[in-house]
């Protein structure tokens, strides 16, 4: 009795996720109409480079938020890890990978420190990471002795500014980039197909065949168009590969591992999780450690992109990352949220900032608009929940 769901049911079932997706598409269309250079190869490449570190932070932040906590310190941690890397590489003349490893280690230590206070002492994450925000900012100033360090140069600089291109030659566009994206699209189609088969064999609801095929085709066309634009510019950004790997890996962690399941269980009902044998402290601790390491990754990417470390780096990043999660459908009370949602939420913020910059909208108005978008997204969430409750 395989049930087949129509478009309408699919949309109502995922109203939150599809709502934000439609909003994203609408924003992209709006800006591309208003400003034709919005979809130009150069600008698309720019968006990827400019917001990759926010998206990396949003991955870790989503896990913290699903847990029912928050992390306000990530901006400072980005600064601190970048600063330590700069000291090691620029002042200490160490190789680039030593800088990266040291930055990740510092991120790990920061995460362990915060995780300890949250999980084992029982202080709310809001307080611990508010303290961390000040603490790690202060340490950044100490490490850098109040001055900026630059330039990294070389391979370290290439992490966020490098491209893979020309490997298969170019004809006005980079074949290698297109090939990688084509492989990704095929991989996506195959995995969707297998999921669909799996669901059918377990007698679950699936979309009807035409909808399924349309979905795959639309995704393929959009992705390949994006790839084509990238290939006409400088090719495949290295950070995009890094980001793709992280998104894929963490989507799996959140949906397919015991650890990920336990995060959802704790955020959904702490008491029930505890009484089901979930080691709440351990899971909370490692979620913060994970956030610290990802902040270290973002620190490396950001310092690489800036080609140096500044004491004031990463200011307000935490707010962008948090906003990305909530716009992407995470619940303020924990237990609900998806990595893909947070990524789209982050892209909404990215595209809006970029589009408004292109149009020359003043900084002040940009802030107002971003604030309103965040507020409306969460209001929409609350509204939906209340309606769902009334329907019960």
């Amino acid at each position: 009795m395989t049930a087949v769901a129509g478009v309408r049911e699919m949309i109502t079932r995922n109203v939150r996720q599809s709502g934000i997706f439609i909003a994203f598409v609408a924003i992209v269309v709006l800006f591309s109409v208003l400003k034709k250079e919005f979809l130009s190869p150069g600008n698309l490449t720019n968006i990827v480079l400019q917001y990759s570190y926010i998206l990396i932070l949003a991955i870790g932040m989503l896990m913290v938020i699903v847990l029912g906590q928050i992390d306000l310190s990530v901006g400072s941690v980005v600064a601190l890890t970048g600063a330590v890397a700069a000291v090691v590489v620029i002042k200490g003349h160490a190789p680039w990978y030593v800088g990266v490893l040291v930055a990740l280690a510092v991120g790990f230590a920061v995460g362990a420190w915060q995780g300890f206070w949250v999980a084992f002492v029982g202080i709310p994450g809001f307080i611990v990471t508010l303290a961390g925000m000040l603490l790690f900012r202060g340490l950044t100033y100490r490490v850098l002795e109040n001055i900026s360090l630059s330039p990294f140069g070389g391979t370290y600089y290439g992490i966020a500014n490098g491209f893979l291109n020309g490997l298969l030659g170019g004809y006005g566009f980079d074949v290698f980039t297109l090939l990688i994206f084509a492989i990704a699209v095929v991989g996506y189609a195959v995995s969707q197909w297998r999921t669909r088969r799996g669901r059918i064999s377990y007698q679950q609801t699936v979309e009807s065949m035409p909808i399924f095929v349309t979905k795959i085709v639309v995704v393929a066309v959009v992705v390949m168009a994006f790839a084509y634009q990238l290939s006409r510019n400088r090719g495949l950004p290295i950070v995009l590969i890094l980001l793709a790997v992280l998104i894929l890996a963490y989507t799996l962690v959140m949906s397919k591992t015991v650890f990920g399941r336990h995060i959802y269980a704790i955020g959904g009902n702490l008491n029930a999780a505890q009484l089901s044998g979930v080691k709440v402290r351990k899971v909370s601790f490692w979620t913060y450690v994970n956030m610290g390491v990802l902040a270290g990754v973002a620190g490396v990417v950001y310092s690489s992109r800036m080609n140096g470390a500044q004491p004031g780096a990463g200011n307000m990043f935490e707010l962008d990352a948090i906003a990305a999660c909530f716009i992407g459908g995470a619940s303020t009370t924990g237990g609900v949220g998806r990595i893909t949602g947070a990524m789209i939420g982050g892209l909404v913020m990215a595209v809006m900032s970029n589009g408004m910059q292109l149009m020359g909208v003043p900084q002040s108005i940009q802030q107002v608009v971003k604030g309103l978008v965040l507020l409306l997204a969460v209001a929409f969430d609350v509204y939906n929940k209340r309606r769902a409750e009334a329907a019960r």
């Binding site: 015991v258 399941r261 959802y264 009902n269 999780a273 009484l275």
Partner: protein, 516 residues
């Protein structure tokens, strides 16, 4: 003026699927202390919530006549304006605020400019404290006072609202004997001052001592109102009134064939987590055999849940002492994970708070306690998980279009089946079921009993905690009674009657035997 201050006529209150009150009538005379007793779930608290406007006019049928007029309370404020004040079992005090601040909370003493006049407030608070026989500084934070004194402060708060009809919901349930004595004395004093009281209690001795009349409720209906001065108003008569229903819903037949002892608990003692020195479970010992259902009967506040939770990985209480034996060997259970490893499962009485992740689907809830069985090296096998969920859906007859439906869309009975599935999936040897049929309809109850029987037939040991005596008599092989934290009896079901059990369940602790 009529001699009755209150008359509640034909009150019927329906919750989705349940008739909590059916045609209940209650008449309270001016200046009396009127007791209401009945089993848990008989409708006592619901009736008082109707009276005090917690359930506003229009959400129930019937009429309330207070002081000669029919009243329609839209909220608790309306009833308080008329001098009806309810003191709930869980005290509604803010622990960090002072005595005076608590007394006047929502009712602050203000001067002509609209600012709070603290001198006057503290002074008035002091007068009120004296009236309830307390010599405390009004500026002391409430949290520093014991439960007994807090109870008295609730009464002082009621007095500040010019109370005329005071409703107390199990006021002595959490009090020791001294504090109870004091409280009862105060109620007598208030009576002398013309204040009428309605008191919900299941301490029958206490009622015999203080109440003028008692109304007995059972299954949401009034059974009778008896005059306590009559010689026929014995405890026996009240017990019969409280439990006297026929076994209206049948229990599935089961052939009892107990095997070896699986779990034995000895000298289990647990202290209250936040009130040092308060013993919640006092030297409890019991055992359960394979293929046996053991009941634990106790009224609200007897420590049933506390006993179960403290056994289940020390999820409740502090300074837990005693020994657990599993299959004859002593075991140590430090946390829930190790309890699960030792094959113990606990199904909470409050499935929404402690049993389920309501926002997630059935499948995820079923796998949540035994997730490791579905995982290799931390990776969950999603297909296998779905298969397991489908299996339990069929086995336990969970009525749902799909196991991917969030559990908050299910009815209470089906939610309970999800919780049972979740614990059965951990392949337990001992199942502790805490009020397994609370809040679910008769049909679903029968299904749950059938599931219990099947588990027992598979050789599992089952402990059923319940305050519904017919349920225990219908499902158990042996019944322990728990009263005020102590096991007061052990009765094979063949020899058990509701009256006998109720007697054992209301044995009060001997005065001061644990004082040393």
């Amino acid at each position: 003026m009529s001699s009755d201050i209150l008359e509640m006529r034909s009150i019927t209150k329906t919750f989705p699927g349940v008739k909590a009150l059916q045609d209940v009538t209650l008449t309270v005379r001016r200046g009396e202390i009127h007791a209401i007793c009945g089993e848990n779930g008989a409708g006592k608290s619901t009736l008082m919530k109707v009276l005090s406007g917690v359930y506003p006019h229009g959400t129930y049928e019937g009429e309330i006549v207070y002081d000669g007029d029919e009243v329609h309370f839209g909220s608790i404020n309306d009833s308080e304006d008329k001098g009806i004040v309810i003191i709930h079992q869980e005290l509604a005090l803010v622990p960090y605020l002072s005595v005076a601040e608590n007394i006047f909370l929502g009712n602050e003493v203000r001067d002509s400019r609209g600012l709070i006049d603290w001198n006057k407030a503290n002074h008035e608070a002091r007068q009120l404290l004296l009236r309830v026989g307390l010599d405390e500084n009004p500026t002391t934070p409430i949290g520093q006072l014991g439960v007994g004194k807090q109870q008295l402060i609730e009464i002082a708060k009621a007095l500040s609202k010019n109370v005329r009809l005071l409703i107390l919901d199990e006021p002595t349930a959490a009090l020791n004997d001294n504090d109870s004595e004091h409280l009862l004395g105060l109620l007598r004093q208030l009576k002398a001052q013309g204040i009428t009281s309605i008191m919900i209690s299941h301490k029958l001795k206490e009622l015999a001592e203080i109440a003028d009349r008692t109304t007995i409720l059972r299954d949401g209906r009034t059974i009778e109102t008896i005059d306590m001065a009559e010689p026929t108003s014995t405890e026996d008569r009240m017990i019969r009134g409280m439990v006297g229903r026929d076994l209206e819903h049948r229990y599935p037949e089961r052939r009892s064939n107990p095997g070896e002892e699986v779990l034995r608990v000895e000298h289990w003692t647990v202290y209250h987590p936040t009130q040092p020195g308060r013993v919640v479970i006092d030297d409890a010992s019991f055992n359960v055999r394979a293929g046996e259902v053991v009941g634990i009967a106790g009224l609200m506040g007897a420590g049933r849940t506390e006993l179960a939770m403290s056994l289940f990985g020390r999820s409740y209480g502090r300074d837990v002492s005693g020994q657990i034996y599993k299959n004859g060997r002593p075991i140590d259970i430090a946390d829930v994970a190790s309890a699960i490893e030792h094959g113990i499962a606990y199904v909470s009485e409050d499935r929404k708070r402690f049993g389920l992740n309501l926002i997630q689907d059935i499948r995820t809830n079923i796998s949540s306690a035994g997730l490791r069985q579905l995982a290799s090296r931390g990776w969950v096998n999603g297909n296998e998980e779905l298969k397991v969920a489908e299996q339990y859906r069929t086995d336990l007859n969970i009525r749902t279009p799909s196991v991917l439906v969030p559990v908050n869309k299910l009815s209470g009975g089906n939610q309970q089946k999800v919780v049972l599935s979740k614990w059965l999936f951990t392949t337990p040897e001992v199942l502790i079921l805490d009020e397994p049929t609370r809040g679910i309809d008769v049909g679903a109850k029968y299904e749950i009993y059938t599931i219990i029987n099947r588990m027992v037939a598979e050789g599992k040991a089952v402990v059923v905690i319940s305050s519904e005596l017919p349920e225990l008599l219908g499902t158990c092989d042996r019944i322990y009674t728990l009263a005020f934290g102590r096991i007061t009896g052990e009765v094979p079901v063949a020899q058990a009657t509701q009256e006998h059990l109720m007697e054992l369940m209301t044995i009060e602790r001997d005065v001061k035997d644990k004082a040393s």
